[in-house]
Point group: C2
Chain length 349, copies 2
């Protein structure tokens, strides 16, 4: 019997609706398929927690989480209570960095029965591999002067180590797929970091002669997502570019509510974190209409990460059967509730 300790952090907004849903699904999997058990512990760290305690989690939060095999997170952010940069840097982004979850891995393809939002979704089946620990997301910088003359400075920091690492991950992944890697760049406009990015991409690609490569500026790349999605297999992108592309990919899938993501610690020293692409969606809280599929598909990525690929495949199969049957929440054109979709998936197992 394999046992996995999982730290559930529903966080804010619909995170509190979809994490319990996906947890039920995981429990059903362990009930049905004997060899695996999950020990879930829930932590209330969130913007509400901040209001009460003046911080997003307790001082020893990271210490506590180190003992878990994985973090299963919903969504973070509630600008009514806490400015976004405070809440995110105090929780989600902190985990990514402190636990060296240097890769963010985001598959995107159109599920059966869900109408893609683009006219030509044929072969829209790709993975965005996003650098997850540095780049444009940095606390380095600040402000000078006051009043009219004020200036804000933001530093992006790209290391060769981090850039190579995410690119190698992308190439290895492409090797198991259609053997094609596209690099998201902007070396025509971003003067220092992106020409550096291109150089490293060229260097790394030399080690993978069997993989075809392409390099596209982020503006053109975003446009091609809509006009020529068949161009892509694996896309490797910086922190910010990966963020934008994966949301765009989710939209093309029909709704950001279906898109999964994994934050991977590559050396196994700290827990990896599993949280879907969507945010806390304050506009639909409490209506039982949040799409649970993003979180449930994210649970599949967690199973894969544990080496339970068979169960992972089974789960994605059941998700696809569910959407194919038309059991859909409103964001993807259906009339079903969060609970109904979840129940259907559990039955399907």
């Amino acid at each position: 019997m394999k046992k996995y300790m999982i730290a559930n952090i529903p966080g804010d907004g619909i995170g509190k609706e979809v994490v319990p849903a996906a947890t039920k699904v995981l429990e059903a999997i362990s009930d049905i398929h004997g060899g695996i058990r999950f020990d879930f512990n829930e932590f209330p760290w969130s913007c509400e927690y901040y209001v009460e305690h003046g911080k997003m989690m307790p001082e020893d939060g990271l210490e506590i989480l180190k003992n878990y095999h994985a973090i299963f997170l919903g969504a973070v952010g509630n600008i009514q209570l806490v400015p976004d940069h405070i809440s995110l840097w105090g929780l989600l982004i902190k985990f990514r960095r402190e636990f060296e979850q240097v890769i963010n891995y985001r598959p995107a393809k159109v599920l059966p029965g869900v109408k893609s939002k683009i006219v030509n979704p044929k072969d829209f089946d790709l993975i965005v591999v996003r650098e997850n620990s540095e780049g444009e997301y940095s606390e380095v910088g600040g402000r000078i002067f006051r009043g009219e003359d004020e200036i804000a400075i933001q530093n992006s920091i790209f290391s060769r180590r981090g850039t190579e690492r995410v690119m190698r991950f992308a190439f290895e992944l492409a090797d198991k797929r259609k053997k094609h890697v596209t690099s998201a760049t902007k070396s025509n406009g971003i003067f220092h970091s992106m020409p550096f990015w291109d150089e490293v991409f060229k260097d790394v690609s030399r080690d993978y002669s069997g993989i075809e490569t392409d390099s596209q500026h982020i503006d053109a790349l975003a446009a091609f997502f809509v006009t020529n999605p068949e161009r892509f297999d694996v896309i490797v992108a910086s922190n910010l570019f990966g963020d934008v592309l994966s949301d765009l990919g989710a939209a093309i899938m029909g709704s950001v509510g279906v898109a999964p993501a994994a934050n991977i610690n590559v050396n196994g020293e700290y827990p990896s974190m599993f949280e879907p692409v969507h945010g806390s969606a304050p506009d639909i809280i409490g209506k039982n209409i949040a799409n649970p599929i993003g979180q449930i598909w994210t649970a599949k990525l967690m199973l894969d990460h544990f080496g339970e690929e068979e169960l992972g495949s089974l789960l994605l199969d059941v998700i696809e059967k569910t959407t194919n049957k038309g059991i859909l929440t409103p964001d993807i054109g259906g009339k079903h509730t969060t609970s109904e979709v979840t129940e259907e998936i559990i039955q399907g197992l």
Copy 2:
């Protein structure tokens, strides 16, 4: 008789095909409608020029251009000859900065007869107002260490002056349209510059009580372009975010080949510059299939800028009649050549 001196810079790739096409259209306008004349002078500044002269334009290039009412530019970039950051910073971006073209203004809507690439293009009719002189596009930064330890640092610089200026432009524009401004932010991930951006947006919006505002993170915003385009009227964005959104908008319009843009010097001290959203498109050079509409629609923005709004409207009318008739280049689903589309527009005038 009003006379406008125009500096034509076809630049690279299909720029050399669409600038002559749009120039013919402007000449036809002046032939037919007596009161206006254009004096075009062409400059060969481009990547080929670089190969010959070791720079993108002569030392006194800026001096020369100062005498013109406007710059009419095609596209810049040919990585076979010159790295992108060298060619762009030596020409296009240099003009934007040295001539204080601080606003980049990019309308996007689906033309009649052109199939949008998204399923739900209803009311896709918006304008991206992009900060065009600072932000993420900066030469500040560099590299340290060597080999494995190498680090690249890129500074984004946001001034209150520049940020306010672009926002005010957006609010003024929205006042003449649907009275709605969306701010493109990423204050949950970009720690210094984007919370600053949000603050300035809040401050500026106080002066425009008649305008509704909204603020969306760039990832969600890009997704909404595809899933909920009806949310938008005017969008104000930083240099990089505006770049990505306008290309994405162009893709939704059917092809990046139809999208127009204007780089505006707001105080009239230096020439403004008119160049479409698309790039030099090396893959289709010499085939006479480049879509001239982006460049011709850009000529319309130039007419508007000269105060010739009537002629500007006439030109857009004729463009719309042409697409509506099905006279389209291959990128938007037609079989016509660059010359045929151009000819049809000239006839239409």
